[in-house]
């Protein structure tokens, strides 16, 4: 039996503060950022309290629900606006509000010169509210509201500096790619409703056991499409790199730690759909595997530090998506990697922001070099994140990534070997491009612009970085000790103890293989980037050229979707103009003529009005007379 508690504060507090800051306008400029940070921190504290309260309860009683109000009640569609806080959502609540609060603190300093800082914080809290609604909704429809809300907040924040057209275009691109995914989600909801007559998680879970394979696969595919849009997975990955146009704290919070992982949440939450449909699972695995390599390859050639990290995010989420396709135990490892990734990637983004802060907003890594001497704290915290993403023991990524690689190998047969190899290869490439970032930025010789005077960032900026670095170091060990997270999530995802039995390769072998590949990747990068030209060399391998151009993702989209789409719309516009509009214009003409005739009747004379009334009465009498006689 689930218990009922008051969960509405999670959403109401940040939402209210966001609205307040937007409504008060400039009046709140002085204290808006402090206020927003306090609200975010208090949400985190409530989350911690709920977490301990949940630990105090046993088994089924751990999940808490709250019915807010009857939302839609039309015919057979009955949807309550309700919240559900269970073992899965509490992980997200803590991650979102915890990392969110650190990034709030960081942003106080980072955005201190921006005259719209208050608006920025209002959007941040709008994001927190929407993201919490996303993970706390108890039905697909409630999730959808949060899903759209984070899309809106992401759009507003990517285009925060919308005076630059390129940034506004980036916001639009993110919006369009997300829209494609959103269609997937709405279709999934509609199919679920037609199949099961309900859209709550509990109801769909109940119905899924007796549903046809075709329906489940269709729902799964549509959910995957939604996840691909939100989490920048193949083939909807192209927006994430451009989304780096937003302020760096946004990239850290939304485009690394939380929002882009919503797809992983969606698939994990829908585990009952995917577990029942091997076809859908296969699609998930394929998408994850492709994106994992795709992102890693792009990451090898990017000179913009934020875009390199964005490519890495794409690749790491590829790992998580792949893991969610591997069945019950995969979900738990996906969530574990999601949490550890939230720490180390957010930490590295904040580090990148710190570097940019000291380097006059320069993002080109070829213009960095030897920054460890002037920015020791940034270099140290970034370095810890670096070790974590590489998967060096005992840092966080070691536990989470190795588990995914193991599970991939364990998935059986040719598929298992193939997936295991891909994840291993991905780990090697990751080591290469992250080492490249590290070397280009913090080591080597200085290649700074003459005007740059890099300096360490203020306390408010490095403190959150340090806190995240602690997470990068310790979170993996903590989550893994005694299979803590796997056991914790067991009631939600049914991850029983299957993990401990029947490994294709013993874990220690996998770890050694992974570390070997990582070492090779690091070595290549170190050798290759002993000297770094300030201008990117032109005579490079084809694969590098392709990676620089994001593996031609934009050209592909333009050739396959945009240009035919434009031709199609041009054709449609033409048809529309001649045929449809012709009819509409005819109708419009008739409407206008009749409208102006009606105006003539309305001539302002009371006697005419009275006459019209009399004529109306006579007409009525005549009509009734004819009907009744």
């Amino acid at each position: 039996m689930t218990i009922s508690t008051n969960l509405v504060y999670f959403i109401a507090l940040p939402l209210f503060s966001s609205g307040l800051l937007l409504l008060l306008g400039r009046k709140a400029d002085k204290w808006g950022h402090i206020f927003a940070t306090l609200v975010s921190a208090s949400v985190f504290i409530i989350g911690v309290i709920e977490f301990f309260a949940m630990q105090g309860r046993e088994g089924e009683a751990r999940a808490a629900t709250q019915k807010l109000f009857e939302w839609i009640s039309v015919g057979s569609l009955q949807v309550d606006a309700g919240l559900l806080l269970d073992q899965l959502s509490i992980c997200f609540v803590l991650l979102i509000s915890g990392v969110g609060t650190l990034i709030h603190i960081y942003s106080i300093a980072y955005m201190s010169h921006d005259r719209d800082r208050r608006r920025f914080f209002a959007y941040l809290n709008l994001f927190i509210a929407a993201m919490l609604l996303l993970v706390l909704g108890d039905s697909y429809l409630n999730l959808y509201v949060g899903w759209e809300g984070v899309g809106l907040a992401s759009y507003l924040l990517i285009g925060f500096w919308n005076e630059k057209p390129a940034y506004a275009a980036a916001a639009k691109k993110a919006f369009v790619a997300n829209r494609v995914g959103d269609v997937g989600l709405s279709l999934a909801i509609m199919i679920a409703f037609t199949q099961f007559g309900t859209v709550t998680f509990a109801g769909v879970k109940e119905g899924a056991s007796g549903a046809s394979a075709g329906a489940l696969t269709a729902i799964g595919a549509m959910l995957l499409l939604a996840a691909a849009g939100k989490s920048a997975q193949f083939p909807l990955q192209s927006w994430l790199g451009d989304a780096m146009a937003g302020p760096t704290p946004v990239s850290a919070l939304i485009h690394a730690a939380t929002m882009v992982t919503a797809g992983v949440y969606l698939i994990t939450r829908s585990n009952f759909i995917f577990d029942a449909s091997p076809t859908a699972q296969l699609m998930v695995v394929i998408v994850g595997a492709i994106t994992l390599l795709f992102g890693a390859l792009i990451g090898t050639a990017k000179d913009d530090i934020k875009k390199a990290l964005a490519a890495s995010t794409m690749s790491q989420i590829g790992y998580m998506i792949l893991a969610t396709g591997l069945g019950p135990v995969g979900y738990a490892f996906a969530i574990m990697h999601l949490i550890t990734h939230g720490f180390f990637k957010a930490g590295m983004f904040l580090g990148a922001g710190s570097v940019m802060h000291g380097m006059n907003d320069e993002v080109n890594m070829r213009r960095y070099g030897a920054l460890r001497k002037v920015m020791p704290i940034t270099a140290a915290t970034f370095g810890l994140g670096y070790l974590a993403i590489l998967g060096v023991p005992p840092f966080a990524g070691f536990y989470s990534k190795d588990k995914i690689i193991e599970t991939a190998f364990d998935s059986g047969g040719i598929q298992g070997i193939l997936l295991g190899s891909i994840t291993l290869l991905g780990a090697g490439i990751t080591a290469f491009y992250m080492t490249r970032v590290m070397v280009l930025t913090f080591i080597g010789t200085k290649r700074w612009d003459e005007k740059a005077h890099p300096h360490e960032s203020p306390f408010l900026m490095w403190a959150p970085m340090a806190a995240l670095a602690v997470g990068s170091v310790a979170s993996g060990f903590l989550l893994n000790s005694g299979s803590a997270l796997v056991n914790w999530l067991q009631p939600v995802v049914n991850a029983n103890q299957e993990y401990h039995s029947g490994h294709l390769l013993p874990p220690i072998v996998v770890s050694i293989m992974a570390l070997t590949v990582v070492a090779i990747g690091v070595a290549i990068a170190v050798l290759k980037y002993r000297t770094v030209p300030v201008v990117a060399p032109e005579n490079v391998l084809g694969i590098t050229k392709a990676a620089r151009k994001d593996l031609y993702q934009d050209s592909f989209n333009e050739a396959v979707f945009m240009r035919p789409g434009q031709k199609l719309t041009a054709g449609l516009v033409n048809t529309d103009y001649k045929v449809v509009d012709g009819l509409v214009r005819l109708v419009g003409w008739v409407v206008q003529i009749s409208a102006s005739n009606l105006r003539n009747i309305q001539n302002g004379y009371v006697r005419s009005y009275a006459l019209i009334m009399v004529l109306g009465v006579i007409a009525l009498i005549a009509a009734v007379w004819m009907v009744t006689l």
Binding site: A595, Q602, V617
Partner: protein
């Protein structure tokens, strides 16, 4: 030997409290110092409304069909509408309190030296408050009255103050006075129809009560010619009040001429009251004769929806446009009368409430969009308002979207429920026409929104005055209602469903 009639004072109290407030208002006009009047009137009116509403809430479960012998039946639908009218009155009074909309001295000839002197002296026509309260009392009585005489008295009590108030506009006074006179003449004319219809129905059934009428129809005791003519004539009186075509001609002129706060109040509250009475008469008194009136009400509903939506397109004046929109909305609610089901009743209750709140808000916004010569209601002058006053323009757009029935506003839920009730009861034609004319209507609402936000301003003499705190409260409450009922309609919809019954 006559025995004293048995009156249920607790149920009649809401109306009597309002009447009491109105009478105190009259006394204030006689005895209080001019400087104090406006404030006193405002306090008394709001207090009366709040107390009355409170009383209504207290007795909400004690509905009785014989609150006053057989003349008044305070039942679910009646109480819901009384509550709605009180809320409209509250919101309306807040806007009316901005005396800048009213002539300083209604008796002074427009343009005369007297008028100039009255403006100079800062005189105020604070009689508006008691007049409004009398109208409110009439409106509250109209939907609960169950015999022709009480119905007629209520109709006149609500109408007479409105005729007067329509002529009180501070600016464009000739237009305002013309509107008042037209309203009065045509109103009296339609009252005559109503009374004539009542007389014919009395002739048919030999009783003045609606219950007696039903019994007579069931028993088939009278002359059908009297019945049919009576129904038609009675309907004309009611259809005039709700503004159904072809009895709508007064509406654009009066809406345009009347002081805008009065227009908003009257559009919301009169419509609720008149539809309340109409629903009661057709649901309660005439349901046994439905085969004879359903066809012609259906036809009128269709014509009203079409004409209202079409004519709104060619309007250049914001208030006239909303008048035609109000006509179209009357057509939508008429479909609920034809549907004749409990779902349709609850849908129309919800609809009247949602529409009324948005209407008061929309007209309140018109009062604050002004240039140096006062309020600007020319649609073309509103171009580019969204750039100058984004908040005001956004809220106005919200109300327009609600009128248009766009999802996430209260208007959508209202339209959806009313059309689905019509669909359930098999009136497919009405649903099709309703949806089509809604589509036409969306055109002119969206055109205004486009003008507000996406067209560059050509003149810059128009501006939004900073509204008084009271107007601001009224607009805010209306906007909050409109949004909330769009997102969580069940908050009011459940109440409407619980209260959707008439007691015989």
């Amino acid at each position: 030997m006559l025995s004293a009639p048995n009156l249920d004072y607790a149920l009649l109290a809401p109306i009597m409290i309002i009447l009491g407030g109105a009478l105190i208002g009259v006394l204030i006009e006689a005895f209080a110092k001019p400087a104090w009047r406006a404030r006193l009137q405002l306090v008394i009116s709001l207090a009366a409304i709040v107390i009355s509403f409170n009383q209504l809430v207290r007795v909400r479960n004690d509905g009785s069909s014989i609150a006053a012998v057989t003349s008044v039946s305070v039942d679910g639908a009646g109480m819901f509408l009384q509550g709605a009218i009180l809320i409209f009155a509250f919101l309306g009074i807040l806007v009316i309190a901005d005396q800048d909309n009213f002539a300083p001295q209604a008796s002074a000839l427009p343009g005369s030296a007297e008028e100039a002197a009255a403006i100079q002296a800062g005189k105020q026509q604070t009689e508006v408050f008691p007049l409004t309260m009398f109208a409110v009392a009439g409106m509250m009585l109209f939907p609960v009255a169950t015999d022709y005489i009480t119905l007629f008295v209520a109709l006149e009590v609500l109408s007479l103050p409105l005729y007067l108030m329509a002529g009180l506009s501070r600016r464009r006074r000739l237009l305002s006075q013309e509107a008042a006179l037209k309203y009065f003449l045509l109103g009296a004319y339609s009252s005559a129809f109503f009374l004539f219809g009542a007389a014919l129905l009395y002739g048919y059934s030999g009783t003045i009560s609606l219950n007696g009428l039903t019994d007579a129809i069931r028993g088939n005791t009278g002359n059908d010619v009297f019945l049919l003519l009576g129904i038609i004539f009675l309907s004309v009186g009611l259809l005039f009040k709700v503004g159904a075509v072809p009895f709508h001609s007064w509406k654009p002129d009066v809406y345009q001429g009347a002081p805008t706060p009065i227009t908003g109040f009257m559009a919301a509250a009169t419509k609720a009251a008149a539809f309340g009475a109409t629903l009661r008469i057709f649901y309660l008194g005439l349901d046994a004769a439905q085969t004879s009136w359903k066809p012609f009400i259906a036809v009128i509903s269709v014509i009203t929806m079409i004409v209202g939506s079409l004519a709104a397109i060619s309007q250049r004046d914001m208030k006239r446009m909303l008048a035609y929109s109000s006509i179209a909305h009357a057509g939508f609610v008429l479909t609920a009368i034809v549907s004749l089901s409990e779902n349709a009743l609850s849908a129309s209750l919800f609809y009247l409430f949602a529409y009324g709140v948005a209407t008061i808000g929309a007209f309140a916004i018109i009062t604050i969009v002004r240039d140096s010569a006062g309020e600007v209601s020319d649609v073309n002058r509103w171009i580019g308002l969204g750039k100058k006053s984004p908040l005001v323009a956004s809220v106005f757009s919200l109300f327009l979207l609600s009128f248009a029935g766009i999802p996430l506003t209260s208007g959508f839920v209202g339209k959806f429920s009313i059309f689905s009730a019509a669909y359930e009861s098999g009136n497919i034609t009405l649903v099709v026409v309703g949806v089509l004319s809604s589509a036409i209507a969306v055109f002119f609402y969206l055109r205004v929104i486009l003008m507000l936000f996406f067209t560059d301003a050509t003149t810059d003499s128009i501006s939004v005055v900073i509204p008084s705190i009271l107007t601001r409260i009224s607009i805010s409450i209306s906007a909050i209602f409109t949004i909330t009922l769009g997102i969580a309609p069940s908050l009011v919809f459940d109440i409407a469903q619980d209260f959707a019954y008439f007691l015989r």
